[in-house]
Symmetry: D2
Subunit: 303 residues, 4 copies
């Protein structure tokens, strides 16, 4: 059985399950997305591509962009970034603030909001024009100049992001934010507002399955750095559900509250899924199911 | 370059580094181990074996046995064990008790002490003679009838294990321990007292690199269950350093405060290291260094 | 209006309110008490005494005895006890274990369980026959040789007190318990099992309203020590409801899960109330109401 | 011995002790105060006044103004404010954020920063011109039209108050702040910047020793409300040291990081002390010593 048949099979199996997930309601703009949207797209390092469902419709990739921000910061500063952000899972979200206090303002990893803010702060310090330079980097990864921020979504988040304002000022109070919190927050909300479709997402992340090089051969990260980002996604990519994702799916990956998930099988493929309803842990309900079935049928868990 | 040369090279490189680790001092018996002991042993699914240093000298495997206890419980009860213990990383050790309170007595995963006590409780309930039946199971995995508990080490831990007594009674107060806490604690301390050498350790764990079957073909777990235990070791096997181990080494594994580490490369090999001095996170200082160098040189990180 | 009329009035007003409290159910023996019991007794430093309702029926004073244990330890060791137990409110019960961890085994105050265990440990170290000597002390305070422990209640608590076993062993792990945890726990459960009626309770505590002397003039504590114990009851006497009790009642006091409350008005009187149903914070529902009305009508809040 | 002699005696005893306290360094403007300043002033309900040292020199009253803000909010909204802020001690400062999370944005009491922000928010909603109306209220209490905010100190705090920005946005994220966080923070920093000298401070707070009426007879609060504010100061007025202050001094009171302390003896007097160096808990080192000695010598602890 090949990838195409397996993906079509999984798509059919999951399409009509009773989706017990809920739309991310705290961001006004995301609450309006059609909850029935459902797409899958696979890209292999052998240049095979296949998609089903709404795989060409763009959605807000949200936290998935944290991997891209980390990639650029890692490329620029290499190991020095780990003085300002950790590489350990964060336990329950419940602890985030008390952990930040116990850890004196050093976020546990770059994929929780606090850590992504520190990464955003690093990028602001090192990029000439952070917003412009970052999207240029993302476009170069995907070889797709039409990828862009959504001003509407960014504005929507800024209007209600009190908890993120709290977080960023809290880190600043420990001295682990260099720029003004408002500047960091604006860039952070921009990062989260990037929109892609499943095909673009799986293409953009292909360098992580390809030893750090884009399909056209452009080096993004070293082989070594690439493995480390994959390891980080494995242990920290799904909030409180990272362990469960490793357990059930067995691939490094990252999810966003827009309902997207990207997963990487090193040296083989990337797979992107989109379905907006989220489970209790904030990850796409159908998305997790798709990937669980997919790695089981393809026997491609890395474990 | 083959495994033998790489292991010999890594052994030489790490042997004389300035070992900044410290012996586990809170268990009287472990504090007396010769801190200079250092051994490595590799076993492959192709039946290749190679060891250097003190790889035939036995040591206390301590928490490493939590994987074996989990294996037996998983074999007996399958998915039902996950109602009583989670599969998520625990964040900092600092939180363990408050997390247990927040999670109403359900430990975060089976590799923290609290989780291993729940697994011990499950085994007590389901085994006729827990202590005898468990060691028989371990012996069958390793095909080695001489593996045994150390009564001295178990007694040494029992004499000072106030924090573990606290933990077990705390879980009992939530109703997630069925047997009397004293019975559970006695069995738990026995489990931790098992002794093996590096060769025995890498042989015992080979089933996890071999789709759940021992080298002689005896099924222990299903392929599916095996992948899940590996995933769990990846995300939770090294206390607060699980993220760092995934990041630097890139293999599922488990450490013990006796200074042992076992790591698994699915479908390829297991590798055991022993060096008693521990880093600040409680994992063998030299052991982590050895595995970091080994996966780098063999390019065998799973990521 | 005199005390008698006010107490009779308050008794009538509160007697038939809708008592939304619940019996302490976690101690089997206490769950069997008749929930309709309701008594009040006042003793003044001028030797006036008045009681209504079931004020001559004994009940389990439970945590109220922590004040008596502290009194004896304070008498024996004076200020040195504050090296082993704090004098600050504990915030929510929710934090108790994490606070104990943050504070390295020094309980926040002598009225939370952890603190009372440390006090029990001090008494065990300094008394020849702790159980016998302590009850002798209590009898001398009350001038009543019939006051005693309840073996049944103590046994009932011992059979289910897993959380207290956890607590005591946790403190021991920090080195702040000198004796064996089991010995400390046995004495602790004995202390909590003492039985008195409202009249005996108000008489026993009269020394705290009388500059540290019993009514017959026997010195128990210095004037200075007495004020300090009163201050401690004010800030820490009612678990998470200490602030609310100070706010509504305005007297130092102590409650127990048996439904008893003792309150002290320095230089004037003590008043004991008993009604077994407890509010959500573990304090007698009717008892708090009685004292709120009583201090309002007598205008005898100390604030 | 009368008040004058006792105050002079205490002043001499404490003046030259080895002051191990430290200036509040995190607010630039406060770090510049002369650390040798030391003043005491007493006002009685019988209209007796006496001061020593720098009792006529103004200083930043900081958190002491939280009592005045609470007074005005309590006067306007009466019991309804307790839906939005608690009346319990907060345990260690260490917990503040996690407690706020556990309590869903309801601060533990109105004297921790979080609680004072909610009070500030209430005042903003109910006052026509909050800044102007509040200082008018304070002037009316003290009968002193020259009392004012310090724009310099307020600006100094605003420039570094990241942690307070974090706190206010965090509460807002729970919905317990009605106005824009920036507006609340500006008013909050203004409140903290009020300056008084010891004499003005003891006069301003005299209504709390006088059944809620100013010395000239103007009603501020009811007798009942007054007792409650005193009770609240007793249990929550000194951060983590509230228990110790009750224990050693035995009076309700409130401190500020400017080095001021006000203490109230209901129906008798108020006493203000100022000495800028703070102990480890953030309360005036000499101030606490003065009050401890004063209540001991006057035997006027309320306990």
């Amino acid at each position: 059985m090949n990838f195409k048949e397996i993906i079509e099979g999984v798509y059919r199996e999951v399409k009509d399950i009773d989706d017990r997930g809920k739309l991310a309601s705290y961001i006004p703009e995301l609450a309006q997305v059609n909850p029935k949207r459902f797409g899958i797209h696979l890209s292999t390092v052998d240049n095979y591509q296949f998609g089903v469902g709404h795989y060409t419709e763009r959605f807000s990739i949200q936290s998935i962009s944290k991997v891209l921000a980390l990639t650029l910061a890692y490329k620029i500063k290499n190991q020095r970034i780990w003085k300002r952000v950790g590489i350990e899972p964060s336990g329950t979200s419940f602890n985030s603030l008390v952990q930040l206090e116990a850890d004196k303002g050093i976020p546990r990893n770059p994929f929780i909001n606090a850590g992504a803010m520190v990464i955003a702060d690093i990028l602001i310090t090192h990029l000439k024009n952070p917003k412009k330079d970052f999207i240029a980097f993302v476009r170069s990864l995907s070889n797709n100049p039409s990828i862009d921020y959504s001003e509407t979504v960014a504005a929507s988040e800024k209007s209600v992001g009190y908890r993120n304002v709290a977080l960023c000022n809290f880190i600043k109070s420990f001295g682990n934010i260099e720029n003004h919190p408002q500047v960091v927050l604006d860039f952070y909300f921009d990062l989260c507002s990037i929109e892609m479709n499943c095909q673009e997402l799986s293409e953009t992340f292909l360098f992580l399955a390809h030893d750090g090089k884009t399909l056209s051969g452009t080096p993004v990260l070293t082989n070594h750095q690439t493995k480390r980002i994959n390891a980080l996604m494995q242990t920290c990519g799904f909030y409180d559900e990272s362990g469960e994702f490793a357990f059930k799916v067995g691939l490094p990956g990252k999810s966003g509250v827009g309902g997207g998930i990207i997963a990487i099988n090193p040296d083989r493929y990337t797979i992107a899924v989109w379905s907006p309803r989220l489970n209790a842990k904030g990850n796409s309900y159908k998305g997790v199911r798709v990937l669980e079935k997919f790695t089981k049928k393809t026997e491609s868990s890395i474990f």
